[in-house]
C-alpha cells in the first residue's frame, strides 16, 4: 500500500513536469503542441549522449537538454507557428502545423538516434529498504533523487511564473491577450519565451526520466497522449491544473497497474476521464471557456 502510494507520488511529480510545458504553451498561444512527446524524447537523447556517452556530470546534461529544446522551441515559434497563426483564417490551422512538427521530429529522431532502447547509468546506486523503519517500502535511491529534483523544478517554475517579470507577463497574456497588450506586454516576445520555456520543460522532463525508464525513439506519441490526459484532468492552460493532473494520473496509474492488467487500467482511466469531462468539461481547475 505505502509502496504503491510512493510510486504514484514519484511518477506524479515527473508527469506534472511533462504536463507543465504543454499547458504553458496552450495557455499562451492556444496551441495544442502535438510534438510535446517528441520534444521529451529529444531531451532524453541529449542527456543520453552528454551524460551516458561523454560521461559529463548529470547537471550539465540536464542544462544541455533544456537549452537544446528551448532553442528548437524558439525556432518553431518564430518561423512556423507565429507566421501561420497570423496568416490563417482560423486558429485550427496551428493544429495541423503542430501535428506536422510532431511527425517531423519523430522522423528526425528515428534517423539520428536509431530505434534501439537506450538507457543511462543511475545517478545514485543502491536501494532503500523501509523494513528497518517499519515501512513496507522498497525503492531505488535513484527514483527518490529524481522525484525530489522534479519537485524542486516544479517549485522553481511556480516561483518564476508567480514573481518574475516575464512570468507575470505570461500570466497576464494567458488571462486576457488584449488587455495585457494594452498594458504594454509585448505579445510576440513573450509568446517566443513561453514556447521556448514549454519546450525546455519537455526536454528537462525527458532528461530526468531517462535515468529511470530509458528512452527509445518510438515513445513520443504515447507521452503526448499522457500529457493530454493530464491537462484534461486538471484543465487546459492552468498551471495548478497541470500539476494536479500529473499527480492524479501518476497515483491512479500506480494503483491501477497494481490491481488490474495494463490494458484494462488505461481503458478504465480513459472511460472515467470521459465521464468526468462530461460532468466538468473544463477539468478540475480550468476556466469554463472552450
Amino acid at each position: 500500500m505505502e509502496q504503491i502510494l510512493l510510486n504514484g507520488l514519484i511518477t506524479g511529480a515527473q508527469y506534472a513536469l511533462i504536463a507543465l510545458g504543454l499547458t504553458l504553451i496552450f495557455s499562451l498561444m492556444n496551441i495544442l503542441n502535438f510534438a510535446h512527446g517528441q520534444m521529451y524524447v529529444l531531451g532524453a537523447f541529449v542527456t543520453y549522449y552528454v551524460y551516458g556517452k561523454l560521461g559529463m556530470p548529470f547537471i550539465v546534461a540536464v542544462i544541455a537538454s533544456g537549452l537544446t529544446l528551448a532553442l528548437i522551441g524558439a525556432i518553431f515559434e518564430k518561423y512556423l507557428f507565429n507566421p501561420v497563426i497570423k496568416k490563417s483564417l482560423r486558429e485550427e490551422s496551428s493544429m495541423l502545423l503542430a501535428a506536422g512538427t510532431a511527425f517531423f521530429l519523430d522522423a528526425l529522431i528515428l534517423i539520428v538516434f536509431g530505434e534501439k532502447q537506450r538507457s543511462v547509468p543511475a545517478l545514485v546506486d543502491g536501494v532503500f529498504f523501509g523494513e528497518t523503519y517499519g515501512l513496507d517500502i522498497i525503492i531505488p535511491y535513484n527514483r527518490v533523487v529524481i522525484g525530489v529534483i522534479a519537485v524542486i523544478m516544479i517549485t522553481a517554475f511556480i516561483l518564476f511564473m508567480q514573481y518574475s517579470k516575464p512570468g507575470r507577463a505570461m500570466r497576464a497574456l494567458a488571462q486576457d491577450k488584449i488587455a495585457a497588450q494594452l498594458m504594454g506586454v509585448n505579445l510576440d516576445r513573450y509568446s517566443l519565451i513561453g514556447f521556448a520555456m514549454g519546450a525546455m520543460l519537455a526536454g528537462v522532463a525527458g532528461s530526468l526520466l531517462v535515468t529511470i525508464t530509458g528512452v527509445n525513439s518510438g515513445i513520443g506519441g504515447g507521452i503526448s497522449i499522457q500529457a493530454f490526459t493530464m491537462i484534461m484532468i486538471g484543465g487546459a492552460g492552468v498551471i495548478s491544473g497541470a500539476i494536479l493532473g500529473g499527480f492524479i494520473l501518476g497515483l491512479v496509474e500506480a494503483f491501477g497497474l497494481y490491481y488490474l492488467p495494463g490494458d484494462i487500467t488505461y481503458l478504465t482511466i480513459f472511460v472515467c476521464l470521459m465521464i468526468f469531462l462530461t460532468l466538468r468539461p473544463q477539468g478540475l481547475m480550468g476556466k469554463p471557456w472552450g
Binding site: F26, N30, L32, F34, L80, P83, V84, K87, S88, L89, R90, E92, S93, M95, L96, L97, A99, G100, T101, F103, F104, D106, A107, L108, L110, I111, G221, I225, F228, T229, I231, M232, A236, D263, I264, Y266, L267, F270, V271, L273, M274, I275, L277, T278, P281, Q282, G283, W289, G290
Partner: protein, 320 residues
C-alpha cells in the same frame, strides 16, 4: 444550380467511373487502382471529420467510429454469416448509434477539450477491441473475411459475387468510388440545405443560434451521427478490401491523418477531403523511394504547405 457546376460534376463522374479504371486496367497498374480505392475510402471517412468541423468541432476521433464499423461488419459477416451488403449498412448504423450515445455528453464540450476527448476515444475503442476477446478475438484480430457476395433483387443480379470476378480489385474500386460519390452528394446536399445553414450558425456562435430557437443539441447529435455513419461504412469497406481487421487497423495516428486530410484540402470546401486524401496518400506513396527519409520529407512538405497555404489547398482558387 448553375450549368457550370453540373458540367463539372458530369466530367468528374466520367473521369472517376470510366477514364481512370479503363486507363489503369489497360496499363495493368493494380497498385494505382488499389491506391485510388484507398483514397476513396479515406476521403469518405474524412467526410465525417469535415461535417463535424462544419458545426465547429475539431474531431480527432473518426478512427474510433471507423474501427467500430470495421469490427461490426467483420463480426456480422464471419459470425452471423450476413451478406456483406447488409453488414455494410448495419456497420454504419452501429457506428452512428455509438456516436449518439457518446456524442450526447461529449458534444457539450467545445474547442480543444472536444478535440482531446475524441483523441482518447480512438484509444478507448482500440483497448476495448483488445480486451473484448470473445467477440473481437483480441489482438489477433479477425482474419479471412470473405469477399462481398452477390447482390440481387428478385433473382436479378445487380452486383456480381466479388469472388467470381477476374479481378476483384476492380469491384472494390467501383464500390468505394461510388460510396465516396454518394457520401459527398449527401454532404453537398446537407450543407446547402436548411440544416446546413443551421449548422453553419452553430459554427459561428452556438449561444446566439440557440437564442434564435435553433435546437442546438439535437442538430449537433444528428450531424455527429451522420459523420460517424460515414466513418463506420468507410471502415467496413476498408476491412473487406484487406479481408482482415485488427485493433491497430484504425488507431490514433489514423484519426490524426483524417483530420489532416480535411484540413489540407481546406475546411471551407465540401470536396476538400477528397483532394487532401489524394494529395497526402500519393505523396506518401511516391516518397517511398526515399526509404528512411520518407516521413521526414512528408512531414516537411506538410509544414511547408501549412506555412504558405494555411487555409488549405483549395484556397488557391480564392485568389483568382
Amino acid at each position: 444550380m448553375d450549368k457550370k457546376f453540373i458540367i463539372r460534376v458530369i466530367i468528374s463522374l466520367i473521369v472517376l467511373l470510366v477514364v481512370i479504371p479503363t486507363v489503369l486496367i489497360v496499363t495493368q497498374r493494380n497498385d494505382y487502382l488499389y491506391g485510388i480505392t484507398s483514397v476513396a475510402i479515406l476521403a469518405m471517412i474524412s467526410a465525417g471529420v469535415w461535417l463535424t468541423f462544419f458545426m465547429g468541432r475539431i474531431n480527432i476521433g473518426q478512427g474510433a467510429y471507423a474501427l467500430i464499423g470495421a469490427y461490426s461488419a467483420a463480426v456480422l459477416i464471419t459470425q452471423l454469416n450476413l451478406s456483406f451488403w447488409v453488414a455494410l449498412f448495419l456497420a454504419g448504423f452501429v457506428a452512428a448509434l455509438f456516436s449518439i450515445i457518446i456524442g450526447l455528453p461529449i458534444l457539450r464540450l467545445k474547442g480543444v477539450y472536444f478535440s482531446m476527448i475524441t483523441l482518447t476515444l480512438t484509444e478507448v475503442v482500440r483497448l476495448i477491441a483488445i480486451a473484448w476477446t470473445p467477440v473481437t478475438n483480441g489482438p489477433r484480430g479477425i482474419t479471412d473475411i470473405p469477399l462481398p457476395g452477390e447482390l440481387s433483387i428478385f433473382g436479378l443480379t445487380i452486383i456480381p459475387d466479388f469472388a467470381t470476378m477476374q479481378n476483384s480489385k476492380i469491384g472494390f474500386y467501383y464500390l468505394s468510388v461510388i460510396a465516396m460519390i454518394i457520401t459527398f452528394t449527401i454532404l453537398y446536399r446537407l450543407v446547402n440545405s436548411r440544416m446546413g445553414i443551421l449548422l453553419k450558425s452553430l459554427q459561428q456562435n452556438e449561444e446566439l443560434a440557440s437564442s434564435f430557437g435553433v435546437n442546438i443539441s439535437y442538430l449537433r447529435v444528428i450531424s455527429y451521427a451522420i459523420a460517424s455513419f460515414f466513418g463506420g461504412v468507410g471502415g467496413a469497406i476498408f476491412i473487406n478490401l484487406t479481408q482482415s481487421v485488427y485493433p491497430t487497423t484504425f488507431q490514433v495516428a489514423d484519426s490524426i491523418n483524417y483530420m489532416l486530410y480535411t484540413f489540407l484540402g481546406g475546411l471551407a470546401y465540401v470536396f476538400g477531403p477528397i483532394l487532401g486524401a489524394f494529395v497526402l496518400y500519393f505523396s506518401w506513396d511516391i516518397l517511398f523511394i526515399f526509404k528512411e527519409y520518407q516521413l521526414l520529407i512528408y512531414s516537411g512538405i506538410m509544414i511547408l504547405l501549412m506555412l504558405f497555404l494555411p487555409n488549405g489547398l483549395l484556397s488557391l482558387r480564392l485568389k483568382k
